[in-house]
């Protein structure tokens, strides 16, 4: 009869994570204040900004741009008045 061994769990301890519902979507983007939050990848984001501004002229675009990994956060004021955020590009 082979000996039974008990093995200690080498894996990390994960906390219970509270998960949240997503924010309700917009009924339309027209007339809304939408933030384009850009982190690097200018090849995509320059074209994106151009196209969004061209094709969706009824939207109030707020562009916040950085080359780095941390997005430029909305200011307290902007937080109160922004209706949606497009975040890209993630690496």
């Amino acid at each position: 009869m082979a000996e039974i061994v008990r093995c200690i769990n080498p894996t990390g301890i994960s906390k219970v994570i509270e998960t949240f519902p997503l924010a309700s979507r917009l009924d339309t983007i027209n007339g809304k204040n939408i933030c384009m939050s850009i982190c690097g990848e200018p090849d995509i984001t320059i074209a994106l900004e151009k196209k969004l501004k061209n094709d969706y002229t009824n939207v109030n675009w707020n562009v916040k741009k950085t080359y780095g990994l941390f997005p430029l956060p909305l200011t307290d004021e902007e937080f109160k008045t922004t209706h949606a955020v497009i975040q890209g590009v993630l690496w």
């Binding site: 690097g40 990848e41 200018p42 090849d43 590009v89 690496w91």
Partner: protein, 507 residues
Amino acid sequence: MPYITKLEKAGIPTVIVDLEDQHQMVKQTALRYGVPEVRYIAASRILRGEEDVDQFIEPMLEMLTRPLTDKEKASGKWVPTTNDRIIFEGTMDEAEEFFHQMEYIPHPVNAPIARFTDGLPVRIPTEARVEAMLKGTSHKPDELIVHHQDPMRGARRNPFAFQREGRRPSRSASPEAAAMEGMRRRQGTPVEFQPMGWTATVEKVAACAVMAGCTPEYLPAVLAIAEAGTFIGSTHTFGHWLCVSGPFAKEVGMSSGCGMLGPGNVANSTIGRAYEIMARNLGGAIPGVNRMTSIGSPFEGSRCCAENADGLPPGWEGINEEFGYKKDESVVMVIPHVNDGIRGVQFSPGGYRAFQKSGHGGIARKLGVKGKPGPHNWLEYLIDEFWAGREGAKTVIMVPEMARHLYEYGFKSKDEVYEWLYKKSFIPLGRYRHFSWPDLGTNGWLGIEPTSGKPWKELPDDYMVPAAESPYSFCIVVGGGDEELSHQLSSPHHLGIDPIYSIDAWR
């Protein structure tokens, strides 16, 4: 050392001048060649020539005249302490202790070193496990590991011949190439494991494979690596590097994808590790005794990666095909000596994409293609660094997307890339003479410079010479994930040894 022992045996007394920390290696090698009592004296690593010679010249000459002691006169046989098939018998716990023994190695190590392993835990090679491992090959357990082919099948070496003749080498071995390797590596001759020159059986290789953690289906790859003889750098190396080309990789579950040279994949890790386990056990390589690589590197006993055959652009050959094998044949490329490190990540992945898609960012600025979308030749960005430190052709590992870009740019075959890289390696002789290793490689600048046919010493400083030996000393390996990355290391041909071993021959 073979030469010294030949002289001694012929009745001509000799004395060797070596360096102190190398004494162990001298004694071991002398024993291997049959004259264990050779006389030697240490020179200094740091004293200036004249001072140094002053202090050892008398004792050195005295070694030629002082009469032999009895020990030095003795003839005999040196019998290895144990060549038994079973090395240990006992409980599993006792076996674990046995296989994980250490021995203290004095200067220049001054620390304990594992006797049978690479320093990490091994799977005990019990008879049952080795028997199970042997099912991975049709070769018999007591078969000696021999060379399966003449060296240089698909010869691409003899680089200085290339420089002289400008001719693309043929794919099949020439008699001259085989002769250059010498009789020791001819087809059918037993493989001599470095550095001790020992031989081994299929069963012993299987035991090493068990120890490394391999499963039986990996055994043909491990046998192919064994056929290479576990060369370990004697004084300096960044280690070895292995790559499988052909269907075998997928069959046994190797990774040719994201992180393939990193940890996680059992085949990549254990097959790579087998090199080191065999170097220690079959080759007798002991740090500080006969493997003097001063700092060492994790590349020693490192992973084996696999070529992503599906990632090859049209017209680009796999490593197997480059060496005269068919697409459906499997080989392992053994680079026994990474000689100047590994570089990469000179550009950010986002920077690479901006460069290729629309000609923006640092890479585009340097290449003067601002605002011009690709495909661009990204090698142009790296080329300055290739010969900033020293001479020698390179291996370039690249992800499939980047290989595709080179193809779209216009390189319709790997050879075209190699020829472009070779041309880019030309530098003025004045600069080439600032490298250190060519002092050795050109035998002190005596002899003829291959491309001109003139003596080195006659050429002016602005004469252009190639820093890379030959176009076909370069090597491209396609593999990795989606992030746009390239690593560069030294050529597989750096030591002039045939790097390709058939895995199929060992099934």
